[in-house]
Amino acid sequence: MKKNVFGIFGLLVTVFVITAIADPNFLSAYNMQNTVKWSSLYGVMSIGVAFVIITGGIDLSIGSVVGLVAVVLSFFTKIQGLDPIVAIGLTLLMSVLIGLIHGLLITKAKLQPFVVTLCGLLIYRSLSRWLTDNQSLGPVPLEGDLGFENLEQILMLDFIFSGQIPIGDFFKLPTPALFLLVLALAGSIFLRKTIWGRYLYALGNNEDGARYSGIDTDRMKIVAYVLCSFFAGIAGILFAFELGSVQPAQTGEFYELFAIAAAVLGGCSLRGGEGSILGVIIAAAVIRIIFNSINMVGISTHLEFGILGVVILLGVIGDEMLKKKMAERQVAASEKLAAELSGKSKGTQNLE
């Protein structure tokens, strides 16, 4: 499992070095801050979808959830003049409810995750547009808005979610990186150290096997979808403050694909049962740097999706080859052992 992370880390270093050589401006403090910020924003969503992918499921609605959360938050703080903390609480609650509905439809109504979350993608996107009459808006109120009285509080939140903290004389750390750090750590501990994390891996590898071991697999799947939407909700709040202006029709569009791409590139198998948070966030950074690099090196931006596709494909192929090698080595070890034991046990077959 650790070896997978080495692979993706190698890719990160490679992409990083190539871009830095092609254009030294890549290493400028401003560009680095941007890279860290966008990698963090993508990273948060990718961690969420990793939980679902580890169970063998999929969530296509992430981008629309990001959009809806950003829209609803702005609607609350700017138009409705709701207390901003309450507004954040309510939007996060909404994201949790969305995940709960996904989980229930998938486990209790036995619908396919692809279908449920595809419908989610369509529904939440159109809700965003309908709610705002497709007018763009941001979380920070202007004079004349109902929420203007909370301006001070909102600016403070704006700093928390999209501010910068100076580190040394040159570099300013974007606050989303702190969110990523905390969430990644929590996600990792959840997956590796808690029994629920183990259950997610077990059911992703073999749902029946997990169920026959007395695990409530339905509940664990619901947990995964709730976490996924919740992380998308946090990402939605981060994006709302970061962008300042939310486009109901566009904000978050295709983000589910970036998140899934990062999860897959980071070592999650869509068959389930595999993957680590560290791999996924490194992969999210790789994807950001590739976009950055395409811009800086001057390759036509029309090619950016194509290049991303090729990199992911190569990464996944490399990963499969590595896994095959490791499996062969393990089989060889087992065979050797079996041969030794069958030679030894000829004479003595007694139990006690």
Partner: protein, 502 residues
């Protein structure tokens, strides 16, 4: 080589290994023209592996294989069929939606330029159907026939390829007594026509009736040969298990304690019409016998909450219990080692440690966190107690042999101290050493007062291990036999829907 010239088929010193197991350690087999031989042995003795090699399903690692004195080595089933070797599979392979003629000539339809000559197809098919005693129109849809007749269609299909050797792997495992008799008539008729048969079965009565000679395998090796006049139950069993039966199934009858599982009119969803009542007491080993498809697995799954009961009442140690999921059953102290251990019993890509500790995690948690030292302890105890052969507890379960995988399944349940341990075909596909260890373990657990309920299709296993046996037929209990009433005949009688007095 010239000494083998009288033989239709001869193999010598054949070896075959799979990851983690040496399935065949150098076996030999001969077959003359018009001879019916039986190949017997416990599960995992290597019978099916050899048959697959003979029929070209898989290649051997090394060894000689002669047909008509000529050395052969098949790359695929088609090459074997061209030389007249046909395997009748344990599971039938007919396309249920096609008619009999199309099934018989599937892939070899007479005709030209891509068009099928329907007339020739049906006349030829009818001819072969008659040879196996089926006087049915060749337009009959295969899926509409009962299993016994489908089996005969399979044989007709083999004959249509000019088969000279029919390999029949457990052909009667899902046949009624009547269907079995019909099959035997057909086999005897074919033998008189000069066709040779290799017959594999666990039913020693059938073997005795049908065979000109018996070859016995044990643990991937030849254990002995019996000529026609030496074929009897005791000789066969002794060669199969390598020692006297009583020694192999080392049972001590414990005085049964309180009732652990009591089922009254429980209804499994597969057989909604047939309520089932049984009980298992502490320290008892109770068997469930019956034909394939009699509803035995479904019954265990209902007890375990996989497919919740549609009615009736269940009690565990006198407390009413209605499991909606395996999680409920595990909480009530039940454990199930399922028949399909690769899909239900284990999470194969996970390690021995992760598999062994999976059910215990909830109990051993520290506020939701894993207790790593406890986990390792459980895995180490399982490896030690069960004698699991693995390089380490960090080895993925899928790289271990079937026997060792089954031991992990048992190990993980033992860590839970179950009140009732249910085992579904506990020794299927397991080598004889591991088998013996599993029997010893069952005995040991019963001695500790755990109630054990096991399903088995292996007659010897049921007779050897069970204190008491329930026989199932078409979803219901057709009879209960005490130790002194248990015999191959009485069990088969009940399993095929007969009653004891008949």
């Amino acid at each position: 080589m010239s000494s083998d010239s009288g033989l239709l088929l001869a193999v010598k010193d054949l070896k075959k290994s799979f990851p983690g197991v040496l399935a065949l350690k150098g076996v030999s087999l001969t077959l003359g023209k018009g001879e019916v031989i039986s190949l017997i042995g416990e599960n995992g003795a290597g019978k099916s592996t050899l048959m697959k090699i003979l029929a070209g399903v898989q290649p051997a690692d090394s060894g000689d294989y002669h047909i008509d004195g000529q050395k052969v080595g098949f790359k695929n089933v088609r090459e074997a069929m061209d030389l007249g070797i046909a395997l009748i599979h344990q599971e039938l392979n007919l396309a249920a939606n096609l008619d009999l003629a199309s099934n018989i000539f599937l892939g070899r339809e007479p005709g030209s330029k891509g068009f099928i000559n329907e007339q020739k197809l049906h006349t030829e098919a009818s001819r072969h159907l008659k040879r196996v005693g089926l006087n049915l129109p060749s337009e009959t849809i295969a899926g509409s026939l009962p299993i016994g007749k489908q089996q005969l269609v399979e044989i007709a299909k083999a004959l249509s390829c000019n088969a000279r050797v029919l390999i029949m792997d457990e052909p009667t495992s899902s046949l009624s007594q009547k269907e079995t008799e019909t099959l035997f008539e057909v086999v005897k008729g074919l033998r008189d026509e000069g066709i040779s048969v290799i017959y594999i079965s666990h039913r020693l009565g059938e073997v005795k009736e049908l065979s000109d000679r018996v070859t016995v395998f044990r643990d991937g090796e030849n254990a002995g040969e019996l000529a026609k006049d030496e074929i009897n139950h005791d000789n066969m069993v002794r060669l199969m298990v390598g020692r006297e039966l009583s020694e192999f199934y080392d049972r001590e009858i414990h005085k049964p304690g309180d009732c652990v599982l009591k089922a009254v009119n429980v209804v499994s969803p597969t057989y909604p019409e047939v309520p089932v009542s049984i009980e298992v007491r502490a320290g008892e080993i109770v068997g469930i016998a019956g034909l394939v498809g009699a509803g035995r697995t479904e019954l265990l799954q209902t007890f375990f909450g996989v497919t919740p009961s549609l009615g009736g009442e269940l009690e565990v140690q006198g407390v009413s219990f209605s499991p909606r999921s395996p999680a409920d059953a595990v909480h009530a102290g039940l454990a199930l080692a399922p028949e399909d251990r690769k899909h239900h019993g284990l999470v194969l890509p996970m390690t021995v440690r992760e598999n062994a500790s999976l059910p215990s995690l909830e109990r051993d948690q520290k506020m939701g966190f894993l207790d790593h030292s406890k986990e390792k302890e459980i895995a180490n105890v399982a490896v030690e107690q069960m004698k699991i052969k693995t390089p380490s507890i960090e080895q993925a379960a899928r790289f271990l042999s079937g026997g060792n995988q089954q031991k992990i399944v048992l190990g993980k349940w033992l860590a839970m101290n179950p009140k009732l341990l249910m085992l579904d075909e506990p020794t299927r596909g397991i080598d004889i050493g591991a088998k013996r260890e599993i029997y010893k373990l069952m005995e040991k657990l019963a001695g500790k007062g755990i109630a054990i309920l096991f399903v088995s299709s292996e007659m010897e296993e049921v007779l050897g291990m069970a204190d008491r046996v329930y026989v199932m037929h078409e979803g219901g209990i057709s009879g209960e036999l005490q130790k002194n009433q248990m015999s191959e005949e009485s069990i088969m009688q009940l399993a095929t829907g007969g009653s004891l007095s008949a």
